[in-house]
Symmetry: D2
Subunit: 376 residues, 4 copies
Amino acid sequence: MADQEPLTRIIEEIVAPGAAEVDRTGGFPRKAVDALADEGLLALTVPAAHGGTGQGPRAAADVVRRISTACGSTAMVVTMHYSAVAALAVADRADVLREIATGRHLSTLAFSEAGSRSHFWAPLGTATAEGDEVRLDAHKSWVTSAGQADSYVWSSRPLSAPGPMSLWLVRPGGPGLTVGAEFDGLGLRGNDSRPVTADGLRVPATALLGPDGAGLDLALGAVLPWFLLLNAAASVGLMEAVTRETTAHLSRTRLRHLDRSLAQQPEARATLARMRIETDRTAALVDTALTALEQGREDAQLLVLEVKAAADGSAAEVADLAMTACGGAAFRKELGIERRFRDSRAARVMAPTTTALLDFVGRALCGLPLLDGADA
Amino acid sequence: MADQEPLTRIIEEIVAPGAAEVDRTGGFPRKAVDALADEGLLALTVPAAHGGTGQGPRAAADVVRRISTACGSTAMVVTMHYSAVAALAVADRADVLREIATGRHLSTLAFSEAGSRSHFWAPLGTATAEGDEVRLDAHKSWVTSAGQADSYVWSSRPLSAPGPMSLWLVRPGGPGLTVGAEFDGLGLRGNDSRPVTADGLRVPATALLGPDGAGLDLALGAVLPWFLLLNAAASVGLMEAVTRETTAHLSRTRLRHLDRSLAQQPEARATLARMRIETDRTAALVDTALTALEQGREDAQLLVLEVKAAADGSAAEVADLAMTACGGAAFRKELGIERRFRDSRAARVMAPTTTALLDFVGRALCGLPLLDGADA
Amino acid sequence: MADQEPLTRIIEEIVAPGAAEVDRTGGFPRKAVDALADEGLLALTVPAAHGGTGQGPRAAADVVRRISTACGSTAMVVTMHYSAVAALAVADRADVLREIATGRHLSTLAFSEAGSRSHFWAPLGTATAEGDEVRLDAHKSWVTSAGQADSYVWSSRPLSAPGPMSLWLVRPGGPGLTVGAEFDGLGLRGNDSRPVTADGLRVPATALLGPDGAGLDLALGAVLPWFLLLNAAASVGLMEAVTRETTAHLSRTRLRHLDRSLAQQPEARATLARMRIETDRTAALVDTALTALEQGREDAQLLVLEVKAAADGSAAEVADLAMTACGGAAFRKELGIERRFRDSRAARVMAPTTTALLDFVGRALCGLPLLDGADA
Amino acid sequence: MADQEPLTRIIEEIVAPGAAEVDRTGGFPRKAVDALADEGLLALTVPAAHGGTGQGPRAAADVVRRISTACGSTAMVVTMHYSAVAALAVADRADVLREIATGRHLSTLAFSEAGSRSHFWAPLGTATAEGDEVRLDAHKSWVTSAGQADSYVWSSRPLSAPGPMSLWLVRPGGPGLTVGAEFDGLGLRGNDSRPVTADGLRVPATALLGPDGAGLDLALGAVLPWFLLLNAAASVGLMEAVTRETTAHLSRTRLRHLDRSLAQQPEARATLARMRIETDRTAALVDTALTALEQGREDAQLLVLEVKAAADGSAAEVADLAMTACGGAAFRKELGIERRFRDSRAARVMAPTTTALLDFVGRALCGLPLLDGADA
């Protein structure tokens, strides 16, 4: 596990105090991301061979979970960065990895598209060879850190190979790439999630990550486990935060006419207990999946497919319980619970959605392929 | 039922177009309230003897439900107004009723307090005789239309009679009455819900509504049925709106890679079906309760106690299902679903809360008193 | 509504006292069915032109609901009978209707098959013209009253017309028809639900109900509304019974060390309240659907498709809540709650299943056909 | 972990083949218990100093979970035995422990009473000194293995010390002890759960376990963790079994008209996925609690209080999902799913009930005592 002292400091001094403002304005948590970069936390999962810390999913999940106890937007930015690094590492992309290792580079994924929506496994965007270069055209619908990242791991249809997908390293800034309007939505308001359009964007042929046409294997094999585990870890952090805050609220708030605290009302206690049990069950599942992955256990893939679906629903439920347990007080901004409640609704619809993951898990259990012709 | 043409026009021309702005800024829907007043809709439930339309809960529920399909904040303002009118009518308060009948007066309830929170049946605020006047002191925690209403129906401990409560007609504006900071919260952002403090407020002795000490009977017998039914009607309107919008979104949105609409995905259809069934079951219960009340049926009280608890949970669930059925699109402001989702969380914590109502229903079923000494 | 005095007597003197025994032994409630026949209740929905009482779905639903408060198996036998009568009435099958009107005939449906399971709209069984007769072959998987009915309304593929289905009137007893082993299952143990196999069964050509190939229209248009409404009514009866019994148990059972009844425990009361609210919401929806049907309202079809899906889930939930509210006592046979709990699980899997109905409702909302080529 | 080969053999050769019969007849699984005794599995947790295997909760949980995949009744008998052994070990009861170590002794708990029901912390039964002996009087309401156990760990009010409870070692067979009628209930039908009445039962003064008046500390500190963990492990075994059987059923059952298996229906797969996720989350929580206990972690007590509440609800939900996923087939006895469904309802109402445990967890979180004066 990474040295956590700097992280504790960053969370306490930068992430937590800034979270309400990031949510209110929808501003990107640049100060937090810079601090994480300075302390080497963006390099956490870069292979040591490329100058990084070489940590695996457990360390990354721990970082994301802890950030998420304070700010969901920052946690999502970091989740996407580590997920992108996973693709770059497998594709052995030394140039970018070295930049990331030095803390000068934030990356992200650019998968979902306007046409195929959350079905990220079926990009409609194209890649066309034009001389030494490749032309990319696509309507990406949701890109985290869209206007802030130093690179995107970008999906398209293959250049010429069979198969559903190729992946590219795309650097923003050039002609042909447009970052859309700022996001103004329910939750995770500060992760700069926006549409990105490529219209005749030119990238060098070397931007290809892995073989042409092998992008889906890379996405499912290298990126997906990281993304699912970190997403689940972020949900666990959110649940820990609202459960802690609810405990504090119930303990300190008094019903003056009864001369007792809200914690002395059995219904409130039962709700709190449900919140904690849900939190602990999901945290335990994430831990089990990490262990299975580390030990190369046979059930590792299944458990990894399970964690985000489990955590999505759990976080939505726990945040909703917090809203009822704390009553009208949670409706106001001060407790921070309504912010986490809004944030909690994002994970379920982020691709792969809960619906898609339940289908993947069901297919894995029944020995069917994760995707079949009709859906792809 | 009231002549609904003016209402249709007001909803289509004022309430619906203004709803997003009311939500964004937290501004009071003054224009809509004025239009409702002009068309006699604030006088809808004022007894004919006092110049009103003399309608009962069914007509009022219909108005609230229809407004709520467009704007939850406006629906709540009207709900509180009709609830206050119910108290004034039973107390035969000719002066104010006549003002309301002419459309120059918006009223509201001022029940919940900082000390006893959602236990509205146990006010801590006091009423003290001072010469010809009465001095009121209280910390009201949530008053709808706080800075906009022309009167509050106000609860306190009795002057001198035994019993838990007296009710007063309080007009804002004088010394001793302070309206607190604007509300900045999750949902129902435009109903001007704020704390109101009385610190040495003087009201004439004639401000007393009904006998001293009989306020709880008035609150439970006259106000509560209206409040519960109208609150439930508002939730039904919200559910109708999100179900309609979800149907439209699923039907018009296409998965281009599959050349089919979202409505052609079985999971989305099943979610939509659940939403509609929940909506229709709750609407049917409200209708049944209204009929029972109109027919003086024995089960009327029980059904009235049930409707808000049923509708609170239903609306929360239906709005949540809409958030998943519409995916990332619902996360953005455009569809209006995320606004309704935020609004949907208010009813459960508004006194009497779902928890309190379940207890009332359980007590009624078991032949126990609604409140007992230990709780009051 | 039918004269209910005889029904009250039958329920109190025969159905209720026999319910536990019917459940224990899996015996058919013959005595109750005979008594219902004697009092004209099997003729309730036979058109007056054919000597019946000529009542509609509301009266039938009332009979089924009331029987179901005492015995789910008997209620299911009657549900299937009325559903079969609906087909016979539309097909204007005077001969059988007249028998039913005199109380000498119990009918039922024989739809679901081993091959297509709950997809009753896709029979695999065949009808083959052989001279003046028709040969039927099929493996019917679940036929209520299988060994007791005087006729089956039987689905098959058409003789020669296009379309998915033809319906037949089949009388048991002849060669080629085999009634399978007695049912030994979780719940509804006394409705004699068994497989029925036709292997070279000969029926006269006149056994055809309606035109060849038009069976699905008849099934969906004439039979389905009755079946769905009566099934929902049976679930409402079940819910009423367990809610009443739970109320009684909580009120009469004491915690001696606390000197109070279970009804004085807030958690138990809240559970009871949820049970009653669920019951009342579903009853209200059934009532609304009946009214819509009677008034020929535009939303009638949708509401009818909703009622069974709503009631299936509701009954399962309410019975489960009863099992927790009454604790260990409900685990024993005496209270009758565990029997209703077992019975409550049947409706969800009885075709059309909850899953199928949610799809139908979703399709109706989105303007899609109830069934499409790929599924049929 | 114990040598598991003998256990595998016992489960495959005795427990699994006998489970349906044990359920049908309500007969005690004597053959299985004898086989477990012969292989030393009843001695698994007896301290090595007394001739046992000296294993801790993890090994015991593993045994219970595996037995429970085949037969819930047998798993409950073993759970109660290990829980009783935990009390005897802390009370250092060499005589009985040595008997257990040799495999000649099955023990159990006798806590819940007719008067205080599931509130096991408040026995009404008494202990009265009579010369050298002690007289016990009580109405125990549910004693597992009631007519089969060689001893009961028995709770009563103290002899003379202050405090709520004393514990005793009671051997059956003598005058004054009556084992009530055989259990005929919904599930766990073969664990011989019956009422046991003591009416002037004489036990030697040495039957006291621990100090007089300290029984609740013993029950909460020594017995409860084992009972909760093993109960949760039994629920995990049940969930594993129904999930496996559902997977098999969906994979092997075909919709002939569509030429595809049930596993190829998305709704069925999603249900199966939910079942597996629930199972894995609960299994992970149990594992985490065991680890926390073994490592003496600060959160161990809280996690132990959580596991049964989590597993109770989980098992009820997973078994219910299996009933819908497998449709009518699960309603019949053959699949074994309806048996597990019935069994699954027991845990929630077994003391400490889910309601009690949620209260304990909520109290622990808020820093309140587990029980307070008003409840005890």
